[in-house]
């Protein structure tokens, strides 16, 4: 038996690492298990967004604002470790109809305290000189930011370890330990780990781990491609995306949706997204997705036409049917906690999620209510699944 801990975090992506770090600050003893290496799942297959701009008013926007505060205040002194960049976001409307929806969105966001500023085409061209002449209007979000997500995960984990957390890479959870119907730890390839609480931070794979405890957490993969260009001198200064993107984020359609998300990086390469499709964990290159992304990106920034891409990658966003993450204690499987299902916003929401989870795990009232994210909103135990006793027998 490995040493027992207060909190056992499963998954060393950005969410698991953030939970681990903030739990150590709460004085809890922490062990992190990871089936691969840090940030080997969706954290290393995304763009590192911290966006307020694409959020409609509601619980997710509240969590975003909270998390942005954690990035900017609690973690201010560490910002350089993960290349935090308050680059600002710009949503561009190229049609009259999308401009009208954009103006409605910014008005609603402003009433929620988001700094959302309407831009004239003249102002837009000042901020982004290479934007398409077809742009009709835009909104500017100075709070939108970005981090290098792999470094964020790995550095938060390093900081947790510096505070005493133990880390076991290449360790896969095979099942749960239980005592009188309560989850008390996990069984792994490296032996058993006992813990007061087990936090499921396995992202897109959260449903599988939850199922081992008989709990239904309906997180599914939603695939996205990102293309990376050759390094260029600065041509795009903000995160720039089209108004249609907000609709796609909120859509539940399984088919391919694509809307342009284009941004420069400190290394000089330009990242081009985005595509969304629910095709399971299929890693096959999608020609329609690549073509649609190229079409959309060159419409937004015509100069990209002649630019070369060096590579592309894909990732699987942890998609939840109601577009809200799953955060907090699972009353259906006492002792099991969840922090997953952040879909495309996981990097931005990670540190807020981690801090709130740590507060709740320490028995405190969290700064922000976790009720909208409660795991048991998906109903009781999965039909046909094993009970905790059976799973651990």
């Amino acid at each position: 038996m490995n040493p027992a801990s207060d909190v056992l975090v499963v998954g060393a992506g950005v969410v698991g690492s953030a939970i681990a770090y903030f739990a150590t600050l709460e004085g809890l003893s922490v062990t992190v298990l990871e089936r691969g290496l840090p940030a080997s799942g969706t954290s290393s297959a995304c763009e590192g967004n911290i966006l307020v701009s694409d959020k409609e008013p509601g619980p997710e926007l509240e969590l975003t604002k909270y998390s942005l505060g954690v990035w900017k205040q609690d973690l201010a002194e560490h910002a350089d470790l993960w290349e935090f960049e308050g680059k600002g976001g710009i949503i561009v409307a190229s049609r009259e109809s999308s401009l009208a929806s954009l103006n409605r969105l910014t008005a609603a966001q402003r009433s929620y305290g988001v700094d959302a500023r309407e831009l004239s085409t003249h102002q837009l061209r000042d901020l982004e000189p290479n934007i398409s002449p077809g742009a009709l209007g835009a909104a500017y979000y100075p709070e939108d930011s970005q981090v290098q997500p792999m470094l964020a995960a790995a550095q938060l984990l390093r900081m947790a370890r510096a505070n005493g957390a133990r880390f076991f890479p290449n360790t896969k959870v095979a099942g749960f330990l239980n005592d009188g119907g309560k989850v008390t730890g996990v069984r792994t390839s490296a032996g058993n780990f006992a813990a007061g609480a087990v936090a499921n931070a396995t992202g897109t794979w959260a449903a599988d781990l939850a199922a081992l405890a008989g709990a239904n957490v309906p997180v599914k993969p939603r695939r996205g491609f990102v293309m990376v260009t050759e390094p260029l001198p600065p041509m795009i200064h903000h995160k720039v995306y089209a108004a249609e993107y907000v609709d796609n984020v909120g859509s539940s359609d399984a088919g391919l949706q694509s809307s342009p998300v284009v941004e420069g990086t400190p290394a000089g390469s330009i990242l081009i997204g985005s595509s969304r499709e629910r095709v399971g964990f299929d890693g096959t290159v999608s020609v329609p997705a690549l073509r649609a992304m190229a079409e959309n990106a060159t419409e937004l920034f015509p100069f990209l036409n002649k630019v070369k891409i060096l590579r592309h990658y894909h990732g699987f966003r942890p998609y939840c049917p109601d577009h809200l993450p799953v955060i907090g204690h699972d009353e259906r499987a006492p002792g099991l906690w969840h922090a997953s299902g952040h879909e495309g916003a996981g990097i931005g929401l990670s540190v807020g999620t981690g801090k709130l989870m740590a507060q709740a795990l320490a028995g405190k009232e969290p700064d922000l209510s976790l009720a909208p994210f409660a795991p048991h909103r998906f109903g009781g135990f999965q039909s046909g699944s094993t009970t905790i006793q059976e799973a651990c027998a």
């Binding site: 020609v287 060159t298 990209l304 002649k306 592309h312």
Partner: protein, 493 residues
Amino acid sequence: MSSSQHYDVAIIGAGPAGLAAAATAAERGARVVCIDANDQPGGQFWRHRPEDTHPEDDGSLHHDWKTYLRLRAGFDAAAAVGSLCFYPGRQVWMAQREDNGFTLRTTASAQAGRAAPGPQTVRATQLVVCAGGYDRQLPVPGWDLPGVMAAGGIQAFIKANGMLPGKRFVVAGTGPFLLPVAANIAEAGGAVAAVCESADLTGWFPHLATAARVPAKALEGTEYAKSFLKHRIPYRTRTVVTEVLGSDRVQAVRTAKVDSHGRTVQGSERLIEDVDAVGFGWGFTAQMELPVALGAETRVDDDGSLVGVVDSQQHSSVPGLYLAGEVSGVGGAALAVVEGVIAGRAAAASTAAQSSAAESSAADVRLARKAGTYRAFARAMHLAHPVPAGWQDWLRPETTVCRCEEVTAGDIAAAKEHLCATDARTMKSMTRTGMGWCQGKVCGFAVSCLAGTEGASAESLRSVAKRPVSVPVTLSELLTLEDEQVLETTTDH
């Protein structure tokens, strides 16, 4: 109108394996397409001066030029009667496997010297990848100075231009390939200050019996020995270059002796001055992006390279995909030709009903025996010329490892220690190794070794070889991509 074309067999590469595969498959009745990044056939091994401006190239810089002329005659004959379509100056940037074959997306190659028109999309029922390999590199302090090249780069420069990229050279690394590079330099009028071979040539003795069964190779060795004597080239074994010195260009190298464990011997350092070019070659890395992208099973060979797993017909684990030459195991041109013939025969046979079983089986046995002999020889070479175990000791924290992204050995050590970056994929995530122009082709092997605890793991090497965009491609080319479904209904010819 669709710009796609459908063939029985597509061959990637027109080097020794590709030429042999293309000529063989076409001869046996298949409709063949061959795509090569260079302006003319020959590959790296038989690279020669532009045929239109220098038709007189007599192959004096080449070994086994006769084999080239024979293969080339078959290749040209097939092209003349229309059973072979050759697209030089183009590269496949993406390959996909579908129900009834392969779809290859091509783009003009960066190394082509002239405009290279060709179809954007090529479809074929069978695919033979003969993509070859390139010099494996190890970082060493000063290796980013102008004047430092891959050994093969020096050779390619001489073969393609008929001139030298420097005046006084040091050729260093390991393996028999250092010999022809040095000989080429000397024959082109350059001075070779030293050839530094890290291996102990007594490493050869246990394998002499195997090597002796390949008379052509032995003969080749004698030719180099003559050339070395004639040009007074010092050949130093158990010697490595541990530093390249110079301010804005190579001026000198520091060498050291290595012991039988591949560790440098204290106090054995020597300075070789007045050097303006250095060529490094630590064996070869097979060009594995297409087999990896298509999901072919891979293995780590005796030389530490990632190569494809093939059966006796050069068939990979992916139905319809054949691998010949370095991509199925680094073994040199003679083996590549035999494997190309085997793959060309097998690919043609699986697309056509024709076959004369008796003739085939006799020839198959003969080819298999020949391939087996060459493979045994290649294995002996790999075991006799390992990458010295102590190479990481030459690095300093400030030594650049990934030249594209300027990542140092110190950055890598820190990410390994503090961020648990213990494989090449995670190292890339944390430090940007392999994210630049070359996409890890140069530093991939070294980073895999540095990240791992026991050399380069297969998983690291696979992640390094995974390049879903094999060569850079413009967004405008992506705009005109045709769907698979469209292609299936609109094949020309």
